[in-house]
Subunit: 362 residues, 2 copies
Amino acid sequence: MKRRTFLKGGAVVGATTLVAAPAIAQGSPEIKWRLTSSFPKSLDTIYGTAQTFAKYVADATENKFQIQTFAAGEIVPGLQALDAVSTATVEIAQTPLYFYIGKEPALAYATGAPFGMNHRHQGSWWSFGGGAELCNEALKPFKAHAILCGNSGTQMGGWFRKEIKTPDDLKGLKFRIAGMGGHVLAKLGIVPQQIAGGEVYSALEKGSIDAAEFVGPYDDEKLGFYKVAKYYYFPGWWEGGAMLHMVVNEEKWSALPKQYQAILNQAGAAAGAWMIEKYDSVNPAALKRLVAGGAELRAFPQPVMEACYQATQDHLNEIAEKSPLFKKTKESHDAYMKEVLFYTQIAENYYDNYLLSKARKG
Amino acid sequence: MKRRTFLKGGAVVGATTLVAAPAIAQGSPEIKWRLTSSFPKSLDTIYGTAQTFAKYVADATENKFQIQTFAAGEIVPGLQALDAVSTATVEIAQTPLYFYIGKEPALAYATGAPFGMNHRHQGSWWSFGGGAELCNEALKPFKAHAILCGNSGTQMGGWFRKEIKTPDDLKGLKFRIAGMGGHVLAKLGIVPQQIAGGEVYSALEKGSIDAAEFVGPYDDEKLGFYKVAKYYYFPGWWEGGAMLHMVVNEEKWSALPKQYQAILNQAGAAAGAWMIEKYDSVNPAALKRLVAGGAELRAFPQPVMEACYQATQDHLNEIAEKSPLFKKTKESHDAYMKEVLFYTQIAENYYDNYLLSKARKG
């Protein structure tokens, strides 16, 4: 059905008139949705992506399709965004799907697994490598449908009170880290901590935790961690190319006119581009300010990276043995990653490395 | 003006009715545009981006806004796409703006200068670094407005009959290369050749040219150059992150309802994402087939890269001395590039290099 006609209660136009004036009669329905985000408004790039998405949809429909955005906690807590979509408490949510790996481990790949593909390759896998289909299969029991809408790029590894020189330095470390990265690091002796965002600073200051990870320089700066845990490590290998989604209640999605589905998909891609473009525009200056403020940049040493990489492979293989859907998704992801890395080393990465070598020489 | 009412010739609805039934009266106008591409249909990813863009616009408007795509030569030759927009022969064109640096050198940065920013950073500069404003300033005399719609990523350096071991090997080399890359290489003794696509193969075979560059593995494979010039060099430093645009006649753009302008912008971003995602999905296998077919992969040796880099700086500085708009655009690009490279080396590039080191080990 390509054309739909919606008559509002008070409309007094007969069917004959509609047929006589088709250019006027093909109105699009007026729809109002509520969007719950898993993020606070203070994360103005991530939450801003939800606002940008909503604005794009309104712009493309002359405000007929309005999506009102709510920050985490305004309707439901951030970790319950998907449930709110499943129960149709809201029609749509902005949420990182790895929040829900306790219920469905395969959703790890919807955001990105540790040591998984980077920003650019995740997008290609999503659209052309079967990623969207696999992740939406994982979302079926949640009665939800995911639209790709953004990626953080490779995140930072977080703030540490002491330097990490060998894998042994990880043992017993109380690290505020969520999701699968925490599970992997637990294999290496880390004690993952779940602490609400507002309490992390004082926990670091008091020394009741030893480290905390968040996103990247621009977001991290606002929290001020550099004042109480000055070693700023990279890379955040557990979020090497974290995809974000708009997750829609399946029934609400199916009931939309095809036109509105197309507009949501396009707004998702456009707002997703906005997100990474915006991050790249604000992260460099934030990192400079952090370093000027006393942050000490450190790469995780190679032996630490190797230990983390091996622990990741072990962890992912263990889950694959238990979950067929996880296994299928992992195999799809890993095969795609092998292909794209083979090519990216030739042109893109060689070029990047050359530009960086020139930049370092000034 | 948020809401527009367009009455078609035959509509017999009075103003009073319009006020009484607003949900019905806000029809969107039916518009048909013609799009001329600078590319042939055989380049199904680049030309496919134009087709995808047109489909997205149709989908978002219930087919009310239709854009019919034409390959290079069907309406005007590929190099005249911008002129066709200026004269309103067509409303819109898909064209790489560096085709027109003979008329306005600053347009080099609209596509990307040699040794310029990569795919991801170009997008950020375009949206948040003033890139769009500067390039649209350069397009003013052409009565045209550019919408970003895609990027090729770093291209390959092309096919050579003989190996290039030192900068001296470039001297006298007849190289089929267009645009600013050719101007830079001319400083190093290359003789740039302009040959129509269909004649390059036989010119390479006969030895009347020594080398030819095109795009990347997937597109290059179709032309079969590996059979007559087996050394396949990388990277294509003259197109390190080549942006593509939809270029719209300024008057036609201004006359569009805001809704349609928003839809074009969003379709541009979404089709642009499609383009790089698609390239990343097809280039790896194509490169493997090329290597299996006899292509020999070579990186340009460091001394060659250094000579090209220096010749590029000289060339860009010479143009900047003559053109204030080029100078202003170059300064904006270079300052932005310095910032993004500072950050990208920390997280993204470190992560990429680590993944590649693991992939190489198998």
